[in-house]
Symmetry: C2
Subunit: 354 residues, 2 copies
Amino acid sequence: MKQKLFTVGPVEMYPTTLKVGGEQLPYFRTQEFSDLVLGCERSILSLADAPQDSRAIFLAASGTGAMEAAVINSLTSSDRALIVVGGSFGERFCEICDDAEIPYDAIRLDPGTSLNPAILKSYDLGSYKALLVNAHETSTGVLYDIPRLGEVCRKYGLLFIVDAISAFLCDALSMKSMGIDMLITSSQKALALAPGLSIIVLSARAINIIEQAHVHSHYFGLKKYLLDGTRGQTPFTPAVGVLLQLSDRLRSLEKLGTYALVEQSAARANYFRNLVKDLPYKFFADHPSNALTALSPQNGHSAYDIYEILKDKYGFVVTPNGGKLKDIVFRVGHMGNITYEDLNALAVAIKEIV
Amino acid sequence: MKQKLFTVGPVEMYPTTLKVGGEQLPYFRTQEFSDLVLGCERSILSLADAPQDSRAIFLAASGTGAMEAAVINSLTSSDRALIVVGGSFGERFCEICDDAEIPYDAIRLDPGTSLNPAILKSYDLGSYKALLVNAHETSTGVLYDIPRLGEVCRKYGLLFIVDAISAFLCDALSMKSMGIDMLITSSQKALALAPGLSIIVLSARAINIIEQAHVHSHYFGLKKYLLDGTRGQTPFTPAVGVLLQLSDRLRSLEKLGTYALVEQSAARANYFRNLVKDLPYKFFADHPSNALTALSPQNGHSAYDIYEILKDKYGFVVTPNGGKLKDIVFRVGHMGNITYEDLNALAVAIKEIV
C-alpha cells in the first residue's frame, strides 16, 4: 500500500528534493561545493533571523548529536545548566549532561503542559550558565514561550540554547529578537530532507565561548567547524547528499521567508485541528506547536492501536509515542509535502475509526 | 562538463543506489525498517568475516565519528594505546585520543612506507590496552600488514581496532582470521553510497568491553546502539536514506562475497597501475591498497596542478592531497562504479599532461 507520512521525520519530501537525492554526488573538497555550503549558511542565518556575526555549522549527525555538540562546547563540569523537561527530548538534554558530567537542574513539567514563567522565580537564575530548552517538545507537541524565556536569559546573563529541531520554520523563532545563542535544527523535519544532517546556528557570544572551549570530543569540537566553515568546508566528510538537498530546498524557502513559512504551518495546523476538534480526542498539548498535533483518544481506544490501524488499513503513517505515553498519545505531523486534501483524508479515516 | 569521479569518497555510485536515493523515505520506527536494518547487520557481519557473536552498529556520522566512538568506548585515561601513524588518518586517531585524554604512543612512519614489524620489538607491547591502525592509510595509499599486526595483538592481548574505512571490500580483511576486535567502515567508500553512515563491527570481546564502559558521550555511547540494535533500531534517528541504499547494495555484494570483491578491486588497481607504470610517476605507497593508487610526479609537475588540469580540462576528478603532500601526491581512487574504459581514458589524459 502506498503510504502517506504524517510523521515527525522523515516527512513527505518534495519532488525536487527527491530529484536531487537521485543524482550522482560530487567530490566535495572543491570551490564549487564550498560555494554551495556558504550559500546554505547565508540562507540558514537569514531564516533563523540570526544577529550580526552569527555563524551556522553543519554536522553529519542526527539532532541528538547536534544537541550534544551544543552542550559540550558551551558547558563544563564547573558550570551548571537549567533544563526545561516536558518530555523525552527535554530528558535527552539531561542524559547528555549526565554523560558529560555537567551539573544541571531540571524543571520537570507534566507531559502536555507548557512552562508557567512564575515557576522560574523559585530558581536562583543567576547561578546558571545556560538555559536549555526544546522550543517544541516533540514528544508531546508543546511549544514553550521562547520569547519569555529569552527575556529571562537576557536579564540573568544565561546562554540560551534552543533545540529547534522540530520548531524551525514551523513556529515563529527569531534568534535576534528572542536572544537565542544556539539554535539547533535537523534536516528531516520542516526542511523535509533526508536525515543525517544537523545544523547549529551560533550567536557571536556562543562563538566566543566555543573558541575558548576545551572540548573532549574530536568529532563534536565545533571550533574546527567554525574555522573550516569560513571557506565553506567541514573538518570531516559532510553529509554531501543532504547538503545538496538543503541547497536546493533553501532556494525556494528563502524566497518565501520565515514569516510566510510559519504562517503556512500555522494555517495547516489550524485546518487539521478544526477537522478533528469535535471527535472524541483531547488535544494533548496546552500550547501546541504548528509542527504537529498530539491527539489523545478519550473513548478508551489505545493511541498505538489507532496508529496501527491508520497505517495498515489506510496507509496513513502518523507518529506513535513510546514509553508511558504509548497508549495515550499519537502525533499527526504537519511538516513536509502535505496538502489540505491529505489532511482531509486523514481526518476522514480518524473519524471512521472512532 | 560531465565529471567522472576517481575520488576516495563520495565515489561513482551505481544506478540502483541512485534510484533508491531518489525515492521517498519511509518512517523508520516500524517492523519493516527494523527487518531491513537487521538484514544489513547480517550481511555486514558476513562480509567482514566476523567471528561468532559479533555485532554491527550503524552510526549517523562520518568515519571520524565512528573512529571516535570506537576509541572512547574501549579506552579511558587510565589505559594506553599504541597507534600506527603513517599519514593524516593515523594522526586522526592521535587527535581523537588527545581530545579524549587517552594516553598513547605513536609509531610514526615516513609517508608512503608501511610498518616494518621489527619496529614493534622496541615497544613494551604488554603495556598497551589496544593497537589502533588504519588498515589502509587513505592519505598515502599504504596498506598495512593487518594479519601480522593481528598476530601481535593476539600474542600480547591487545584489543585490535582497525579503521577499515577505505579498505573494506577493497583489501582482504577477515575479522576472524586476523583477530580484529573493532572494524570501522563508512558508506561512501567501496560501498559507493552517499556519505553520512558509518559502521562499526564488534567482536564479542569488544562488545564485552563496551557493555562495561562508562562513556562521556551520549551520542557515541555504543551500549545503547547494541541494545536497540537487537531489534533493528537505533537510539537516535539513523541515516535512513543511506541505510536503504546500503540494504539495496548489500543484496548484490553478498552474492559475490568478500573474496570476489577484493579480487575485483585488485584486478582494477593492477590494471590501472600497468597503464601508468612507464610514465614519469612514482607509486607513492611501498605496499599499496587496492582502493586507490597514489601517484607522485617525477618530472617537476605539481601533483595539485595535475589534479586541477584533469578536473577542469577532462572532467576526471582524482583526489588531491593536502598539507605537505599537496604538490607531491595525488590519488586515483578505484572504488565505486568505474569501468576499465574509464581507467583507460584517465590514463590517456594523464599521459597527455605529461
